[in-house]
């Protein structure tokens, strides 16, 4: 059974998550703020951490950065009510393997956790839109062409995800295997995390909302 750690400062939401996921996953711990979360995660060494983007004491990003200094193999799935691009891109760049909004249905959330656990990336339509938007436009300021731009195929896959297709549907429509779609998405995630493309940061801060 996949071991899951929940990080969220909203008790109501936390108890909701526990009830929904308890049957399918082993909930090994939960925390509502950065320090407690970092301690708890290091102690219990879960497979997947469900991480709220907004947390008192530095946000989900602080948890990610602290944990990844000591434990590289714990996977994070970011969860937020915020659709603020800066927050989302921030946690992804800090190492989260995916992002879903809190309005996601329980079955979809469970599927996302399993996907992150098997080391794939979870791109919601919204995240795919963000990435396309961030890598949109001309290529001024490109430092590393391998990291700083998306291939035509990756772009096509992302567009389909943004249009609301599941990975399986994307594979069928583009005549690819699901595995290939996953590879493309993981490659986009890697670029998103490693690219020094300066527009990425500027783009995100342009869309700073709160």
């Amino acid at each position: 059974m996949i071991r899951v750690f929940l990080v969220d400062d909203h008790h109501l939401f936390l108890s909701g998550l526990r009830a929904e996921l308890g049957g399918e996953f082993e909930i090994v711990g939960e925390a509502g703020e950065v320090d407690a979360a970092v301690d708890g995660i290091r102690r219990t060494r879960p497979d997947v951490v469900l991480l709220d983007v907004h947390l008192p004491g530095g946000g989900g990003r602080a948890v990610l950065e602290a944990v990844r200094q000591t434990d590289q193999d714990i996977r994070f799935l970011a969860l937020s009510v915020s659709d603020a691009a800066e927050d989302v891109i921030g946690v992804i760049r800090a190492g989260a393997r995916g992002y879903v909004t809190k309005t996601i249905s329980p079955p979809d959330l469970a599927a996302a956790i399993r996907r992150v656990h098997s080391d794939d990336a979870v791109f919601s339509p919204r995240l795919a839109g963000f990435v396309l938007d961030a890598f949109h436009g001309d290529l001024t300021g490109v430092v590393d062409p391998e990291l700083d731009q998306l291939t035509t195929r990756e772009r096509e896959v992302l567009r389909h995800i943004a249009r609301g297709f599941t990975y399986k549907e994307v594979a069928r429509r583009l005549h690819l295997s699901v595995k290939t779609v996953e590879t493309h998405v993981s490659s986009v995630l890697r670029k998103l995390q490693l690219s020094s493309r300066h527009e990425l940061t500027r783009w995100a801060s342009d869309r700073r909302l709160v």
Partner: protein, 426 residues
């Protein structure tokens, strides 16, 4: 996105101002933009790198001191040339500098002393106070400090940037100038009457100066008052926006969460729809840009969701990549997307409608998709045929094409493509 292209027009402007294009050799070119009387002071200012206001004050002071300023002004006018149409914009404009302003001041002072020696002089009681007052106001009006200027510009276009311009705004402007000018003139007149009189007249000279000052106050007072008022208003606005950000952070944490929870709970569709609408409205209010970007494609597409959800209580996911001005083609795309989304919400039975719009350099694309019951596009019932035709019609009128991909049991996707005009800014 705008990142890349935003830099380009800026670069273009720089090269334009750098172009070493100057008409009529080295003659002084009268200023077109910076003109009160004939543009002589403006042209001189641009040429010398001194704020034109300073030049005007210099002329004025010299005019008082025996009228030589008028002679100089006419001389300068005679040797200067009119700018030819657009070329003037390309002439390099030297930034006003403190050093040059000081040099100008010394030239005026020297001329004054010279005139005093020669005897072209109204008397110490008049010329010195007026020269001082003029120099003082010149310092105030000139505001050659770039940082200051930038701050005033940022404060908003409604700011009366130039006091001379501000004079002519409003109906009372001319009356004010007339009254103010009359007072200045009478102040000077009082000074005139005193010329050559004994020292007892010094008091009268002071009265003259006082009247002059009142006159100047009448001319420029409203502008100064408005400036002060607007600065205060700006400060209040800043305080308000800080308070708002704080409240937004709080609402974000509490209310948005609750609304998200309701949407995940097994509540009735009506309640879920209500929570979703409320969330959307709250989000729109919280994250509203200080200046709503009117007429942008992104905003218009995002508004589709609200409309469809209100009418049919089916959630609509909207993703927009890039942004563009809302021109006729973009408008057609928005309308077609909305029609397709309404159609999907009404007929498909799907729990969710996805709208995706992307702005590409040469075309706009739009996809409206549902996972509903679908239909056979070749055997469409007439009521749906009409809608399909109207979507196609809209798009075709703007040179694009619309494809409807659907089969029974496999959802529907409306695909829209519209060419963009060449060179349209993103």
């Amino acid at each position: 996105m705008a990142q890349g292209s935003a830099a380009r027009p800026w670069r273009r402007t720089t090269t334009a101002t750098q172009a070493p294009h100057r008409p009529a050799g080295s003659a002084i070119v009268r200023s077109r933009e910076n003109r009160v009387l004939l543009g002589v002071a403006g042209g001189l200012g641009e040429r010398l790198g001194v704020d034109p206001v300073l030049i005007r004050v210099a002329f004025a002071v010299l005019a008082i001191a025996g009228g030589s300023g008028v002679v100089f002004y006419l001389l300068a006018w005679a040797v200067s040339v009119e700018p030819d149409s657009d070329a003037a914009r390309d002439t390099p404009v030297r930034r006003p500098s403190a050093r040059q302003a000081l040099a100008l001041g010394l030239v005026v002072l020297g001329s004054l002393l010279l005139l005093r020696e020669i005897g072209l002089w109204f008397g110490d009681q008049i010329v010195w106070p007026i020269a001082l007052a003029a120099a003082g106001s010149a310092v105030i009006w000139a505001r050659s400090d770039d940082r200051d200027r930038a701050r005033w510009t940022i404060a908003g276009a409604r700011f009366p940037g130039n006091p001379i311009e501000a004079l002519f705004t409003g109906r009372v402007g001319l009356i004010r100038i007339a009254v103010g000018g009359l007072l200045v003139a009478s102040g000077l007149g009082l000074g005139f009457a005193n010329t050559g009189a004994d020292l007892a007249a010094a008091g009268n000279a002071l009265l003259g100066v006082a009247v002059t000052v009142v006159g100047l106050g009448l001319i420029f007072g409203p502008w100064a008052a408005r400036l002060v008022h607007q600065l205060a208003e700006e400060r209040r606005g800043r305080v308000r926006s800080e308070a708002r950000a704080e409240m937004a952070a709080h609402l974000h944490d509490s209310v948005l969460h609750t609304l998200a929870l309701i949407q995940r709970a097994d509540a009735s569709p009506e309640v879920v729809g209500l929570a979703r609408r409320q969330e959307r409205e709250l989000r729109a209010w919280l994250y509203r840009a200080p200046v709503p970007p009117e007429g942008r494609l992104r905003l218009a597409v995002e508004a589709i969701a609200t409309r469809v959800e209100q009418r049919h209580n089916v959630p609509v996911d909207v993703i927009v990549v890039g942004d563009a001005p809302l021109d006729a083609a973009a408008m057609a795309l928005v309308d077609a997307c909305q029609e397709a989304a309404l159609n999907a919400a009404r007929h498909s039975g799907a729990p969710l409608v996805s709208v995706y719009v992307e702005v590409e350099p040469d075309e706009l694309t739009g996809f409206v998709r549902d996972e509903g019951k679908g239909f056979d596009p070749d055997q469409v019932p007439t009521d749906r045929r009409g809608i399909a035709d109207s979507i196609r019609g809209r798009i075709r009128r703007h040179g694009g094409n619309a494809t409807i991909v659907s089969s029974p049991g496999d959802g529907t996707e409306v695909q829209l493509r519209l060419p963009r005009g060449m060179g349209v800014p993103r």
